[in-house]
Assembly symmetry: C2
Amino acid sequence: MSVVVHRAAADMLHGAGQRYTNQRRRLVELLMRAGGPGSIPEILGAGRGLKQSSVYRNLAELERAGVVSRVVTDEEFGRWELSEALAGHHHHLVCSSCGRVEDAVMPSGFERSLDRTLDGLARGAGFAHLRHRLDLIGLCADCANDATA
Amino acid sequence: MSVVVHRAAADMLHGAGQRYTNQRRRLVELLMRAGGPGSIPEILGAGRGLKQSSVYRNLAELERAGVVSRVVTDEEFGRWELSEALAGHHHHLVCSSCGRVEDAVMPSGFERSLDRTLDGLARGAGFAHLRHRLDLIGLCADCANDATA
DNA sequence: CTTCCTGCAAAAGTTTTGCATTAAC
DNA sequence: GTTAATGCAAAACTTTTGCAGGAAG
């Protein structure tokens, strides 16, 4: 699986006239292992030796090539994940206490009915519906425990 | 309606030992009229005479009191709206081309089934489900026209 | 050998903070 | 009168950019 992702990432970059360098491979590897979007501090801390300006530039380049996507949050720094082209369509469980973000997949039947509902909404407002973004906000197990204790 | 909102905002602030000053009233008025979340540049530009540092401080204070909420986007500046306590539960239509954001409401039956589905997801992952955030990403009428032309 | 990538340092952008002044209650 | 809000300027913060050196093809 990880081989498939790296192969795809390499192809996507090469198609854009870009190289799949060691540092870019490390970023993809890191995001693939994470189980959810990784924040800039996590990336800079974890990926020992990854330099700030190169990380920003490489994430931007990987995004242009369609390999990664920026995730919107209310945090003060960025979060990045593998694009849905590589990771599949999914949603996020966001802990409002510690900021942790995990991936989650909804039943495909529900996705379909959600998209139909949004099509209707969009039509009514003159919007062309491209995609949606659905996050569950709550407390992760750790933070829920802390609150109880 | 606007009277009701101002009254509620005043109560919420007073409950927190804060004052409902002219500037805070102008912020609430502005966000109430907007039909969607307002960005910091819009607020600073539109509300003539609103000073940058005071706007940031007042939005933070209004958020603490539960009057307004920060909206997450991928823009480089903040967006703010009336809280759901005042404006009711709703979603956003986001134009991926120009950044415009409009409010939208989904059929209540669909909201219920969405919440049930998310309850299941949360339980499976050890999350305590508090609320959700659902945005439709697409092209507003103006940008769709530009693309066609 | 040409093009792209990397790293450092500096700049740009938004947001936050310190402090003296002014307004609200 | 006492406490909180405002405005200005400076600081903090993340992110972007310029430029020289190094690696990739």
